[in-house]
Amino acid sequence: MGEIVLTEVRKSFGGVSIIQGIDLVIPDGEFVVFVGPSGCGKSTLLRLIAGLEDTSSGTISIDGKDATRLPPAKRGLAMVFQSYALYPHMSVAKNIAFPLRMAGLPAEEQQRKVEAAAKVLNLTPYLDRKPSQLSGGQRQRVAIGRAIVREPAAFLFDEPLSNLDAALRVSMRQEISELHHTLATTMVYVTHDQVEAMTMADRIVVLNAGRIEQVGSPLDLYHSPANLFVAGFIGSPKMNLVEGAEAAKHGAHTLGVRPEHIDIADEGPWKGMVGLCEHLGSDTFLKVDVAGVGQINVRVGGDVPLRHGAQVSLAPQADKLHRFDAKGMAMA
């Protein structure tokens, strides 16, 4: 139904290479998230799949058919844009019906499908409104509605939640995940927000500077990052990366340890003074200056009575250490 295969896909704009050879197989029904810092080419890659940009070289096949040169409409994909891209002069019902109308479906069938989509997305009371009369979350749902009525082979989402406020983002995130379970259609989702990536994805593709750094399930990436970039990118607060003598003790060039994998122990190997201390209630984030190691972020329980200037000793959990070689690649 919706298998997407990218082979050696490259894209450059006027001599500047944005996508530098991507090989990726997205199996049917999978929820794949492209994540990476801004400018890493994740949106460009999505637009290449959509057909809104032409590939410079390489092939894209959808459902086993070569789609590299197909126009967007012929690829059977639906896209949800960051700005929603609703048609401002059309009512919600007409917006959702637009792809059906373009496909030349009879009016009754259009109406039936629009009503079904509206029901799934809780848009029924708003069908006669214009997009300008809707809230951000409702507009987002209309954009999704317009995508689902076409029953596409795959959905493409381009940072769809970045214009929403934090609370709405969490609920829309859940709605999209629900939708994926209901429809079981391939979804490709682009975001720079690693929380979205971790919570929604079956598999995450971490991109950096036009290359794939690592592909894996969220927990794979969390537990065994392939390199320093992924280690630093996935996880919040960020993994502590220690170089020098302390890393050499463990036989590595760089030693990585996540803030949540450090305990406060009476006789820990790292002794230092607490700097910034953030009490969130559920957790406490400490920045500890450890002599000879550097600043270490620590995540401890909510009721730790530590204040700025307190002396602590820290013990990283020995089995949760990540070791990286001089090239930044993970060591076995």
């Binding site: 809104l52 126009p71 967007p72 409409a73 896209m79 844009f81 048609y87 637009f98 317009r146």
Partner: protein, 290 residues
């Protein structure tokens, strides 16, 4: 402008300008209304006397009045139709990426900088002249008989000249609007399976409605008072074939020296302009609301 004091200060600062503009409008209007009720001929100074609505009666019963009214409306509607449709077409073309874009855009705007009497002369003597004109040469080149534009189709010729002058304005406004069309909407429509024609019909046209409204309203104001092009080319003729209300008022007050009758015509023209304005606002004014 939140406090009482700042509101009052704002009004005080604004009042000289408002007052000046108001006087600028009301004094000529008042004098025209006053003259329109007088028997006032420049050839017989000192014989002015109040005559009530006599001037209006003469003006409405003038055999040139109804043709002039029809010609005025034809001219306005004709030019509006050509400039709006042509402006949209040119805006679409200019929006395409092409070589020499900057120069082409300036060339398209250029006719707007030519003063009306000059452009009318250029059209009359260099393009539409039945002997020396370019169109005549083209017609002869094709073995056809040259058309004497100002004799055979005077109003249509004037419409063509005026439309040529106003096309850049319409193009400029519509092109600017075109550039503000959201690219993601276009891409969404492309993914939804809409080809170029459907994208134009369903996205571009509705998006341009507001700008087109602005074009229609502004142009109507200026087109109701088109004068130089008629004076330079046909002088309102042959007969009354290209006489508009503006030109009729000119003929009566400046050629027949009847200021009273001309003033009455001027007031009729003002009323007509207001009727047109009300119709326009009713029809398309809602496009301007956000």
């Amino acid at each position: 402008m939140a406090t009482q004091a700042s509101r009052i200060a704002g009004r005080l600062m604004l009042s000289p300008a408002v007052l000046l503009l108001f006087l600028w409008m009301i004094v000529p209007l008042g004098m025209t209304i006053y003259f329109s009720f007088l028997r006032f001929n420049l050839l017989m100074p000192g014989t002015e006397q109040f005559t009530g609505f006599e001037n209006y009666t003469y003006f409405f019963t003038d055999p040139a009045f109804w043709p002039a009214l029809v010609n005025t409306l034809t001219l306005v509607l004709g030019v509006l139709a050509i400039t709006v449709v042509g402006g949209v077409a040119l805006a679409v073309l200019l929006d395409q990426p092409m070589w020499g874009q900057g120069i082409v855009r300036i060339l398209v705007i250029a006719p707007f900088f030519v003063m009306p009497s000059v452009s009318a002369l250029v059209w009359k003597n260099m393009l539409m002249n039945p002997v020396n004109g370019l169109f005549a040469a083209l017609a002869r080149g094709l073995g056809l008989e040259p058309i004497d534009f100002f004799a055979d189709a005077p109003l249509a010729s004037i419409i063509a000249i005026v439309a040529w002058q106003w096309l850049p304005f319409a193009t400029l406004i519509l092109f600017t609007a075109m550039q503000s069309l959201d690219r993601e909407q276009m891409e969404a429509a492309e993914m939804d399976g809409a080809g170029p024609v459907w994208r134009f019909v369903h996205l571009t046209i509705p998006h341009l409605m507001r700008a087109a409204t602005v074009v229609v309203l502004i142009q109507t104001i200026f087109l109701l008072s088109v004068f130089a092009e008629i004076l330079v080319t046909t002088n309102g003729g042959p007969g009354t074939a290209s006489t508009t209300l503006t030109f009729l008022v000119y003929m009566q007050s400046m050629l027949q020296f009847d200021v009273g009758l001309g003033s009455a015509g001027g007031i009729v023209a003002v009323i007509l302009a207001n009727i047109v304005a009300i119709f326009l606002m009713r029809m398309i004014g809602k496009n301007l609301e956000a």
